[in-house]
């Protein structure tokens, strides 16, 4: 097997795109996991569709390049089939906060041991700049007719907190080292984990300066304090001008879905015998 972690596929992301930082952060985390003894074959990355999804072509590990919005549903099936796998989902903001929001909420509700890394550039890139649920209200793109008023965003972290998400972090692609640490922490966390990753879109929402002026790491924040997490998540509503906290914002250990729901598998002979028994008992 090719030991390199990057494939030969031609990279087609725009110059300066935040996806490069996420790709390399994930790659570094995976290399670290393997060094710690996690078999390379047991790591699976599931991507949605959008600019972020191309990461499936670029990373040389087992990948499932799935559908727009459905990565978490696919990943849930994979994790249930084999709980020994390390399942990482890369999703976009249009992908998982719009098209696939239900799957995100339910992954949090179930607490399945999957990590979702949201490439949150706050705009649809590949379809050329339409607004997403986290676009600034003043951002209109080409799909909102002239003269129509703003459509303000929602705060995805608040949605996740009230859906029971047991690990919530926010990273930023221009804080690469911290982002790598957050992704590693999220993957190691037993249960559903989300890393909302702010990134610029070099073509449609190039607001690096806006982020650089506002991001900060809160001192003394206790991620196990739900009320504190709610306060810190509520500071910035993905729209206005407010400080943007980075880091692990909330963390709580809970029983995982695959632990609660997966039954002990039987072999085919046992199943055939059961069918025979059921038929006998019906006489």
């Amino acid at each position: 097997m090719n030991q390199s972690f990057i494939t030969d596929a031609q990279n087609t992301w725009c110059m300066g795109c935040g996806n490069f930082a996420i790709l390399h952060a994930i790659k570094d985390v995976i290399v670290g996991l393997i060094e710690d003894g996690v078999p390379r074959e047991s790591i699976v990355l599931v991507a949605g569709i959008g600019c972020h999804g191309k990461i499936a072509d670029y990373l040389n590990i087992s990948t499932f390049y799935s559908l727009h919005g459905r990565a978490l549903a696919v990943a849930t099936g994979i994790k249930i089939a084999n709980p020994d796998l390390t399942v990482i989902c890369t999703v976009g903001d249009g992908d998982s906060y719009a098209e696939g929001l239900a799957h995100l909420i339910f992954a949090a509700k179930r607490n399945i041991d999957i990590t979702a890394i949201v490439h949150n550039n706050r705009v649809y890139g590949l379809t050329k700049g339409q607004y997403t649920p986290t676009s600034p209200g003043t951002y209109h793109g080409k799909s909102i007719p002239k003269g129509v008023s703003d459509d303000p965003p929602f705060n995805p972290l608040e949605i996740l907190l009230c859906s029971g998400c047991g690990f919530l972090a926010r990273g930023y692609t221009q804080r690469q080292e911290q982002l790598t640490d957050l992704i590693r922490e999220a993957i190691v966390h037993k249960g559903f984990s989300v890393v909302d990753t702010l990134q610029i879109c070099a073509s449609f929402l190039d607001i690096g300066d806006f982020y650089n002026e506002r991001v900060y790491v809160p001192a003394g924040h206790n991620p196990e304090d739900f009320d504190a997490a709610c306060r810190i998540v509520g500071e910035w509503d993905y729209d206005g001008d407010a400080p943007i906290a980075l880091g692990t914002l909330y963390r709580k250990e809970m029983p995982t879905y695959e632990g609660r729901f997966r039954v002990l598998q039987k072999n085919d002979v046992e199943r055939a015998k059961l069918v025979e028994k059921i038929m006998r008992e019906r006489r």
Partner: protein
């Protein structure tokens, strides 16, 4: 020939379905063939539910006109069904709700209240009264109730004893020779047949969102899941159900999902994903009246063309359409097995009549085993590429965790290594690779002998039918001395076999529960002549007699 129909009716919540099952059990144990048609509106309490239990000394799979025994738990039952009861029918009714009617009055509620039972036990009471009225001994009634009533058996037996004592023997059908259990016949719904067939073929996971008339599969697999070692999940939507099923297949689970037309609409996105990613999934599409929400608890066969074409793009798939519980068992097993063998989606097309009717099954007539398809029977040596080209289009299947392999699957058009491509050569190659599976898939269907001929094989008049209509048509063909042809697999369409079975019939008539004649059109597209179509689109299955009359009108 013995052939009796017992109708029991009441309100939703009266346990009518269960009561029908118990009555059928009384006769199945005695060696008779039974068929139960269950009719109910989409509500939880109230309304009018009824079960027709047909009992015969020969194989049956549909309703007849005419009721020999009418068991009325409420006034609506008597009002709606009195006219279809024969002149000499045994009529038992609930004297607490119905006054001055013809037949035998049993005060069901009063008995239940006096014995301290719960209202639903009225059905036990009337079943016992019915058994007495046709001369079945108490010991046998008690034996059946003990085996069939899951809760509060002693109280149920007290209620039953009172019902039994409340009537005299009215009629002793000549076919009731002995109360000794004989034979090995069992009762099974179409949904249970599907579920057991999947289990027998090695099902590991079942993911489904509730939707009539497919929900029975979800309930039944959940009931046996622990013992069968099957992971059962009810997710947030049919979209999630299909995508989780696809994910399970990637992870190494033989997985299936089930729904009705409306839910299948939501699944088509994931069905297309399974096709492009070449991941095996099995989906049960239990048809009901459409379009849209339609009539949730009534039958239709209007999704055949939809099943054939569902999902964007062109891709190979298997479609099976069983016609009774035994066929459901067999087809479900083959659908799962072949889906894995060819790494394509398979669809089991049922209908409400099949899904929720109860059939007599003779286990010795079922296949001994449906061998589960091994996860991987091909060589994984060397550099692994998920979609490596193979002569028959089927690449070696590996699952994450297999040593030394990187498995890249993709919803996008891809190269053999699973990485996206949009070159002209790559796009064409991807399609050709998938389509190359078709010749072997066609042969696989042929090997299963997918077309059944009923009745007189040399007759000049031939009925073409599918799904639950097949058993009706089998009986009708027998009575009229004509031929009936049922394709069990509908895709790849076994055109040669259907054509041979139809032969040089002078007249070919399709019988389908739809308006347009979907099987007829499919047959015509394959060069098979179909002269007439008998449509039915009112949500109710034909009765044997009704269908015979229609056919007489056409062929006489």
């Amino acid at each position: 020939m013995a052939d009796y129909s017992v109708l029991i009716g009441g309100k939703a919540g009266d346990g009518i379905n269960r009561a029908g099952q118990v009555i059928a059990k009384v006769f199945t144990r005695l060696g008779f063939y039974c068929y139960i048609y269950y009719d109910y509106p989409s509500l939880i309490r109230g309304g009018h539910n009824f079960s027709v239990v047909r009992i015969a000394d020969h194989p049956i799979g549909g309703r007849r006109d005419g009721i020999d025994v009418l068991l009325a738990l409420d006034a609506t039952t008597l009002k709606q069904h009195r006219s279809s009861a024969r002149k000499d029918a045994v009529v038992l009714y609930n004297a607490d709700l119905i006054h001055n009617a013809e037949g035998t009055a049993v005060s069901l509620q009063s008995i239940v209240t006096e014995e301290g039972g719960s209202p639903v036990m009225a059905n036990t009471c009337i079943i016992a009264a019915f058994c007495k009225s046709i001369g079945i001994g108490w010991d046998y009634v008690e034996e059946i109730l003990r085996s069939e009533v899951p809760h509060e058996i002693e109280k149920n037996l007290r209620v039953a004893r009172r019902g039994y004592a409340a009537v005299d023997i009215e009629k002793h059908p000549s076919f009731l020779v002995s109360e000794e259990p004989v034979g090995e016949k069992i009762l099974m719904t179409g949904n249970e047949g599907v579920a057991l067939g999947l289990v027998a073929a090695g099902l590991d996971g079942y993911v489904a969102y509730p939707m009539s008339p497919s929900t029975g599969i979800l309930h039944y697999i959940a009931e046996i899941a622990e013992e069968a070692g099957i992971t059962v999940i009810q997710p947030e939507s049919e979209i999630a159900a299909m995508n989780m099923t696809v994910g399970m297949a990637y992870g190494g689970f033989r997985a299936a999902t089930g729904t009705a037309g409306g839910g299948f609409n939501l699944m088509t996105e994931g069905l297309s994903l399974a096709a492009m990613a070449e991941l095996p999934v099995t989906v049960i599409l239990a048809q009901r009246v459409g379009p849209s929400t339609g009539t949730p608890t009534y039958t239709a066969q209007a999704d055949l063309h939809y099943a054939i074409h569902a999902g964007n793009g062109e891709f190979p798939r298997f479609i099976f359409a069983p016609g009774d519980a035994a066929q459901a068992y067999e087809c479900a097993g083959h659908a799962l097995r072949l889906s894995w063998k060819y790494q394509v989606p398979s669809i089991i097309l049922t209908d409400k009549t099949l899904a929720e009717s109860t059939y007599t099954v003779e286990p010795s007539n079922l296949p001994d085993s449906i061998p589960a398809q091994p996860m991987n029977d091909r060589n994984l040596e060397g550099l692994y590429e998920r979609y490596i080209d193979a002569e028959d289009g089927v690449s070696p299947y590996a699952i994450p965790g297999d040593i030394g392999v990187t498995i890249k699957v993709n919803s996008k058009t891809h190269n053999p290594d699973g990485i996206s491509t949009d070159t002209a050569e790559g796009v064409a190659r991807c399609t050709e690779k998938q389509m190359r599976k078709l010749p072997a898939m066609r042969q696989e269907i042929s090997d299963l002998r997918p077309v059944i001929i009923y009745g007189n094989p040399d007759a000049e008049i031939c009925i073409l039918c599918w799904g639950s209509n097949a058993q009706l048509c089998r009986e009708v063909a027998g009575h009229l001395g004509i031929k009936a042809v049922q394709p069990l697999a509908l895709w790849p369409f076994p055109a040669g076999e259907v054509s041979d079975a139809v032969g040089d019939s002078w007249m070919v008539i399709s019988v389908e529960d739809n308006y347009t004649g979907q099987l007829a059109e499919l047959a015509r597209n394959h060069g098979i002549r179909v002269d007439l179509h008998i449509p039915k689109y009112d949500g109710r299955p034909h009765t044997i007699d009704g269908l015979m009359e229609l056919l007489w009108g056409m062929v006489a």
